[in-house]
Symmetry: D2
Amino acid sequence: MLTFGTPRRSLQSMQVTLTAVGPDHSGLADPIIHYVTGQGANIAEIQMYDHDEACLFAMLCRVEMEPERFAALKPAMEQIGRLKGLSIRVWARDAREGKPRLAICTTYRPEPALALLRAIRDERMPAEAAVMIGNRPTCRSMAEQFGVDWHNVGDAAGKADDERLVAICDEYDVDYIILARYMRILSPGAVWKYAGGRIVNLHHGLLPSFPGMRPYHDAHSFRMLTYGATIHFIVPELDAGNQIIHQSTFTVVPGTPLEQIKRQGESDHEPSCLVEGVRRVVDREVALHFHRVVRRGAKT
Amino acid sequence: MLTFGTPRRSLQSMQVTLTAVGPDHSGLADPIIHYVTGQGANIAEIQMYDHDEACLFAMLCRVEMEPERFAALKPAMEQIGRLKGLSIRVWARDAREGKPRLAICTTYRPEPALALLRAIRDERMPAEAAVMIGNRPTCRSMAEQFGVDWHNVGDAAGKADDERLVAICDEYDVDYIILARYMRILSPGAVWKYAGGRIVNLHHGLLPSFPGMRPYHDAHSFRMLTYGATIHFIVPELDAGNQIIHQSTFTVVPGTPLEQIKRQGESDHEPSCLVEGVRRVVDREVALHFHRVVRRGAKT
Amino acid sequence: MLTFGTPRRSLQSMQVTLTAVGPDHSGLADPIIHYVTGQGANIAEIQMYDHDEACLFAMLCRVEMEPERFAALKPAMEQIGRLKGLSIRVWARDAREGKPRLAICTTYRPEPALALLRAIRDERMPAEAAVMIGNRPTCRSMAEQFGVDWHNVGDAAGKADDERLVAICDEYDVDYIILARYMRILSPGAVWKYAGGRIVNLHHGLLPSFPGMRPYHDAHSFRMLTYGATIHFIVPELDAGNQIIHQSTFTVVPGTPLEQIKRQGESDHEPSCLVEGVRRVVDREVALHFHRVVRRGAKT
Amino acid sequence: MLTFGTPRRSLQSMQVTLTAVGPDHSGLADPIIHYVTGQGANIAEIQMYDHDEACLFAMLCRVEMEPERFAALKPAMEQIGRLKGLSIRVWARDAREGKPRLAICTTYRPEPALALLRAIRDERMPAEAAVMIGNRPTCRSMAEQFGVDWHNVGDAAGKADDERLVAICDEYDVDYIILARYMRILSPGAVWKYAGGRIVNLHHGLLPSFPGMRPYHDAHSFRMLTYGATIHFIVPELDAGNQIIHQSTFTVVPGTPLEQIKRQGESDHEPSCLVEGVRRVVDREVALHFHRVVRRGAKT
């Protein structure tokens, strides 16, 4: 006799995102899936990956469950994690009381983070700056000025300790990690741990056309007249498409020097682009759904 | 009290690939996963996708289970399919008695298919040509000559009926679909139904550099001196990387005319490239593992 | 004893663009260069190409000469052309009395050409619509409405007769050929005959990122939120960079349907982008200088 | 009355390549062209460029002239160069007595240069190793072993002094500069001074698909099974196509580690590819003709 779980999506159902990361793939999926389906949760999405080069096995699981069962989920997952040697995270934006909490990560350029901190202070952005993290000390004084805790995860050469970055985000109970011109690529492990639309990046060029480290330079080398910035979710797979939340551009006349273009982009354009992109996320106008950005409501 | 399923990978465990395709994603994953984990199967891989444009929801699930439970799996999945309106397929290469069965698909060019048919006839290729399918009638007489059933799924303009193609493959109980210069892109639905490393394509250019419909022409327009062919698994997502099973090349001197290059590629090079690529698949030297081609044995 | 020509750039020097196209390269450059340097002209730029596939040899020569010598140049070049079997053109924008004359070329979409015709009628654009040319009859009535001569150079399938297009432009003594959503690629011969910054194209996507025939579709397939148009000079070599005169963009929210994006681009955005781009050319704010667009004045 | 120079291509005509480089474009072309056409030379090709960013104006001029006039050309050009502040070079391969002279440039990897030196020593390559140049001292002892003069043009960080490199090539009267895994990009000025098919580069990947500094890594990241090397002429313009003289490839099975691929490519494959490519150049099987590689004889 077959049974097929409880009916999907009650009025009160709560969206929960589970991520699990471990050193190999044997026995990772089974206990987690078994538990959540046993609790009557419906599976909305599962993605599993085996990063063979990094010896990393990872799973993202979005489920819909009755809110009253959510409280038990976290300790159950902790128990599974301990028994199986897995790093498991449970996140439900619906369960957040108060404003969503941001970790704002920077390297050198202060403008985008500054724009975000001002928008939060002026209550144009319904979020809380829970913590600031840098791989360089440049933005430390800005954090102090706004009364936000600061942590430097970089070594003398700026190399970031991703495990510490994740540990800080865990400790400060953040909902979203905002990469505000943070110039390091997060390790696959870090990205998986906060998978499911929780890592938002500012890229200072138009994606997917100009993905590199020097997008102003690259577009200029083609003598383009259009420059832009892209706010997108980071997703774990290297070859995934671009999960774009917001893009904006500015246009120059032929012959405009690169330095002038960069100045305009960095001081004016990137900061306002980031603020609008983060606003869409914290206002939940957009969500990540099977590696794609969807407008909330547009899918129902 | 938590339970975490049976111990993984008994000595006799059998790899089974399940695919499920349906019109939306509610309730697709739960009954299948629930059933297989309830039977003590271990989940090796799950991939789920929501092709919103095509209104297609699909899942691939690779599990490892005891062989004695395999017989019950197929009728159970059929029952779930009927109840839920899903198109479910169950495939275990281990369960095939005799040689693996191929569907060989063509459009105009006969050479690659001919090379395959000869390799099978001469027992250089341990496989059976179960059926030939075309979207053009060109290769019909070749099928008749080798005593293989022939089906034309194309209309007058060569537009293929993918549902019929899949139905024919189901009817002939094929293990692998070989696209031997079949010049149509399979629909996402068709690809998902035979997902998991069962569709092998001959592309007459080097991937990923020359992905288009005219790879000889494209490489020639760059004045390249290297031309090649690629045998790869077809995977469902458009933006996936290239799942390359085999590549080979030939080199010409500067100034060689395009027509001469095409002739050399089409008559000599592509056929031998396809034969070696298919051989690797039917001999199970390679397998698809989390969207990547791995050498069998290399992962254990 | 060596002599090195007259001193360069008198106050009254006039820029003249010469193009020559012939069936092979023997003896093409010598008589032309010999004549102009013999007349005391200074060579500002020479580009020569041998399109071996098209059996086409071509040269562009920009010279600076005294205006009083210009009158004799045209008949001298005609004589050389007759003797050598070359198609030679002489053009000096400085020698144009009255407004510059445009040939406006279309295929199906009327909006960009319409915007241009209105800007000319309303005297926002200091130019004259000398003639309209189509490879499809769609825009004929628009030409009639604005009292502009119309010529269809396309056959029943829309295939254009490029020699007739060039002959019409010669006959109407046009300064610039404006490709206002003209969906045919000009032959190398036609492009060389009007080389030197006289052919202006509207491409309905951002170059160089989206060069194909379906740029809205291509950008949408990457889930981009930015769409744009590019006004650029056509230059003869296939592999040249993009000679961009003007670009503009518009931005959409995630999930916007492709049809809505195309409508916005085609009806609003492309027409205004073309008008600004053509204005820069007829106002001589930009010029083509060694395959690159420079702002006039910026180079002196 | 117009005159058009002497008849083209006498039986004894000699191909001469002139290059001129100067700080701006006024008066560069005129004296040179005037002189050579005045001597009865026919112009086969002229290319002029204005690298505005580098404030560099350059011209390549291929002419055909009577051999008896060649002796006077060099001093005349030297005089023009002095008067006009231009760096002018005159080269005629036909005028070389004895074997063509090579400058072999290296950085770290010794294998390709070593293969070349052995081919020369064993008389499989009809050329002379005139000088070796490095931007790193790594290959110095190899030069000494083969009795070839060695010059290091790199500073402590490996940054090369391109003017010294050019001066050394001038001093040693080299015909061809061979970049045998020389890992620096030559400046536009250096490239123009030896333009016209005199600089041959070994790129350790298939062009144009893998142009970067890490082509093995890049191809491997796409899970390609084909790896290759490309021997090509360096041409001055950044956006030029690839002037490929020779390419060859090797193929690996899925899962082959990158280190093993690199070892195979570097120790075996690149050296033999370079030897064959250089042989084609010194044997004059190929030539550069309007930015394109043509087989000698194929164009006449």
